[in-house]
């Protein structure tokens, strides 16, 4: 086996939290009512010259992870090493010289350029900040080179233009020129083509490919667009709620997707071939609230292939009831909603790990149990019921016991270069607290 090149970046166990501030007082006092874990235990390496795609829906943490590579967000825990140097905890002063080597291109080219600064000035300012190409003449030449490098040629036509005078594609080229003028090693491109017209996207993607070959750049390509990721990336990491759920070489991920989330994403991409047909049986719902993510596998409530220990809980019972209520008659809904009461009843703390309790809002616990049993009988294929070990009424409340939860870990698939975080592929290890309770029994 050939020896692997020294990685450019090594990211280990990275956690990034954002504090939630709910009201004005909390904002002023700096107190927080909770946190959102934007990046939750990510491990990944980046080899020089490679294009890594971070793919996921909004709220998956892909942009936060990309920004962390440049030291633009402060991780709570974990390590980011760039050529062996630790970036986590580095002061702004020490980060700044490194940033010359680490550049970023954002989604909206219009917002990335100062409207009152000419394109030439925007680029030469970046050079000035990093003390590159001193001397007016030399700097102007360097700016011109960068502009022509990205196709804005002849540079004299563009150097004194304001962003408002350029088209969307030209603006994005100018933003890319500003980034490469500094001679970076890594370019983090966050949705660089998604704001552009279809006919321009191919041109910008082509430019990025060209720059990679000519300048030996390494890319982190952040996107929700699987089609462009497939074309552009060498390796893909699929993210969901702050975690990498599947990663591997692009060809393998697309030819043989393993994680149910990856499969769903690929099915959902609209295909310009009319014989393809519309994707049906897609995951239900949307990305849940990141401040209180589902336990176990975060994808389990939406997963069509979920198994008993994926992490079922009371909120999933509520989801299933709400789905039921979009099917039944209005009269039946009214009666059942009276019995069940409002949504907050499902958010109560579990009296014991893996045990949920639901008290009827009106009527008896036996009626409530009958309702749940009826739903189970009418929809036995619902994955939630695999995760319910038992339901019982003690006259006052219904007690629902769930199968032990296990958090899937990102582990390699034998015989491939792919890693997947899913119980379908790896035997789950029971979580510590439940293992302990089981022993105590």
């Amino acid at each position: 086996m050939p020896t692997k090149p020294e990685p450019l970046f090594v990211i280990e166990d990275l956690h990034i939290d954002f504090a939630l501030r709910t009201n004005a007082v909390a904002r002023l006092l700096g107190s927080s009512s909770g946190t959102v874990r934007a990046v939750d235990g990510v491990n990944i390496e980046l080899a020089p010259g490679e294009v890594l795609g971070l793919v996921g829906e909004s709220g998956s943490g892909k942009s936060t992870l990309g920004r962390a590579l440049l030291g633009l967000v402060r991780p709570g825990r974990g390590s980011i090493r760039y050529r062996g140097q630790e970036l986590v905890g580095l002061s702004e002063k020490k980060l700044r010289p490194l940033r010359r080597k680490l550049q970023m291109v954002f989604q909206d080219p219009h917002a990335s350029l100062n409207p009152s600064m000419t394109v030439g000035r925007a680029i030469s300012d970046a050079l000035r900040i990093h003390d590159l190409h001193p001397g007016t003449e030399e700097r102007r030449r360097a700016v011109g080179d960068a502009l022509e490098r990205v196709g804005l040629a002849p540079a004299s036509r563009f150097i004194d233009k304001y962003p408002g005078e350029l088209s969307g594609g030209q603006k994005q080229r100018a933003v890319i020129a500003r980034a490469i003028a500094l001679g970076p090693e890594l370019l983090v491109a966050d949705e660089p083509i998604s704001m552009l017209d279809m006919s321009v996207r191919a041109k910008i993607l082509g430019l990025l490919t060209e720059l990679k070959q000519d300048l030996g750049l390494t890319y982190v390509y952040i996107t929700h667009d699987l089609a462009s990721a497939r074309f552009f990336c060498d390796r893909i990491a699929i993210m969901y709620l702050g975690k990498i759920v599947e990663t591997g070489p692009t060809a393998e991920i697309f030819d043989n997707p393993r994680h149910p989330y990856t499969k769903a994403l690929l099915r959902a991409v609209p295909d310009p071939d009319p014989s393809h047909g519309m994707a049906r049986d897609l995951p239900r719902g949307e990305v849940p609230d990141a401040s209180d993510p589902p336990p176990g596998c975060p994808f389990h409530p939406r997963c069509p292939e979920a198994v008993p220990h994926c992490g079922w809980e009371m909120r999933d019972v509520r989801m299933v009831l709400e789905q039921r209520w979009t099917r039944v008659s209005p009269e039946q809904y009214a009666a059942e909603a009276r019995l069940v009461g409002d949504a907050s009843r499902f958010n109560e703390r579990e009296p014991a790990p893996g045990v949920g309790v639901l008290r009827p809002a009106a009527g008896s616990a036996d009626e409530l149990l009958a309702l749940l049993e009826d739903e189970r009988a009418s929809n036995p294929a619902e994955p939630l019921w695999h995760g319910v070990r038992g339901m019982a009424s003690n006259g006052r409340e219904v007690r629902i016991e769930f199968v032990e939860r296990a958090v899937p870990r990102l582990l390699p698939i034998a015989g491939s270069a792919v890693e997947v975080s899913c119980h379908l592929y790896h035997e789950p290890a029971p979580s510590k607290s439940q293992a302990a309770t089981a022993k105590a029994k």
Binding site: E57, M198, A227, L266, A268, P274, G277, T326
Partner: protein, 338 residues
């Protein structure tokens, strides 16, 4: 064949720009039958949104609209503002791109429904309104438990479902959906497209789906109309047009689309023209690889070939040698691209 519910004939919309009148829509003709979905595609600035709004009578102040829009047997453009407002809602509905900006943050979802129903169907009783609203929400998979929530308590996809439910509550015959999924994530986008397909089964409205995504057209539409610089340059059944596009612009647009099967990148040279001073003849000729002398001189005729129709001189017969002479194309640099 059933009669069309919407018949648009030679519609033009122009409005004032800083450099003179902008001819945003310039002679558009199409028809939609009940239950049919027509995809309207094109680059930004080709006039597709202006056309969509123009059909509803929603043109910006100072804009003018001309031509004929026949809806359900009535000629809309001749109607007074008041009469047109009556048709909006129960007759035709518009679904916008950004659901958050279209819902009032201070009004509960239930209030949105009561307001809409109160204006357009004042005879309904309160409980009938509630039933109608819950019915529409249910068909879009929104549980009745959320009826009294505020817009901010919903996710982006849910809000778009609510927008669609609001439109459906009035049972419109014609829906204009302007980029209804553009702001949404892939999976949610696919859910909304599924919903639109279901709506066709249950309510059978005619839908004009405005989008820039050819993938969505392929999946969700029966017919497609390709718009360029204010004109529909090609239209026909999606299968036929995508399998054998007649117009060079349609061909280029399909080639430049990045899909999961993309092996190499293709793009369209140049940029869409300035609609204050559009090019003479065929408006696509400066970007067209097959442009001929006649393309500069005269507007191409509409050539009908079976179910497909396109405006292009390449499809015309009886041109003289001089007219057929290929046009010397100037080198298009990035300087002129979009």
């Amino acid at each position: 064949m059933t009669a069309p519910v919407v018949d648009v004939h030679d519609v033009r919309v122009w409005y004032a720009g800083p450099n003179g009148p902008v001819q945003a829509v310039d002679g558009v003709t199409f028809a939609l039958r009940p239950g049919e979905v027509l995809g309207l595609v094109g680059e930004s600035g080709c006039g597709k949104s202006t056309l969509g709004r123009g059909l509803m009578g929603l043109v910006p102040r100072g804009a003018a609209i001309d031509g004929d829009v026949e809806f359900d047997g009535r000629h809309l453009l001749g109607l007074s503002k008041k009469e047109r407002e009556k048709i909006r809602g129960p007759g035709m509905a518009l679904i916008f791109q950004e659901p958050m900006t279209r819902l009032d943050p201070l009004m509960k979802i239930s209030d949105h429904f009561t307001e809409v129903l109160h204006v357009h169907e004042p005879k309904l009783s309160k409980s009938e309104m509630r039933d109608r609203a819950l019915d529409a929400l249910r068909s879009l998979g929104i549980p009745p438990t959320r009826y009294d929530n505020y817009p901010h308590e919903f996710s982006g996809g849910m809000r778009q479902r609510i927008m669609i439910a609001l439109a459906l509550a009035l049972r419109p015959k014609f829906i204009i959906a302007d980029e209804p999924t553009t702001a949404l994530d892939v999976l949610v986008e696919a859910q909304i497209l599924n919903i639109l397909a279901d709506i066709r089964q249950t309510y059978a409205p005619a839908i004009l789906l405005i989008t820039h995504n050819l993938g969505i057209v392929a999946e969700a539409c029966d017919r497609v109309a390709v718009m360029y610089a204010g004109r529909i340059v090609e239209q026909g059944p999606v299968r036929d047009v995508f399998a054998k596009p007649r117009h060079p612009y349609t061909q280029a647009l399909l080639r430049s689309t990045i899909s999961l099967k993309t092996q190499e990148l293709n793009s369209i040279a140049g940029a869409p023209p300035d609609l204050v001073r559009p090019p003479t003849g065929c408006r696509f000729h400066p970007r067209c690889a097959h442009a001929m002398q006649v393309c500069v001189d005269k507007l191409p005729p509409l050539i009908v070939e079976g179910v497909q129709q396109a405006e292009c001189w390449l499809l015309a017969s009886g041109l003289s040698e001089a007219q057929r002479r290929p046009l010397q194309r100037e080198e298009v640099s990035v300087a002129d691209e979009a």
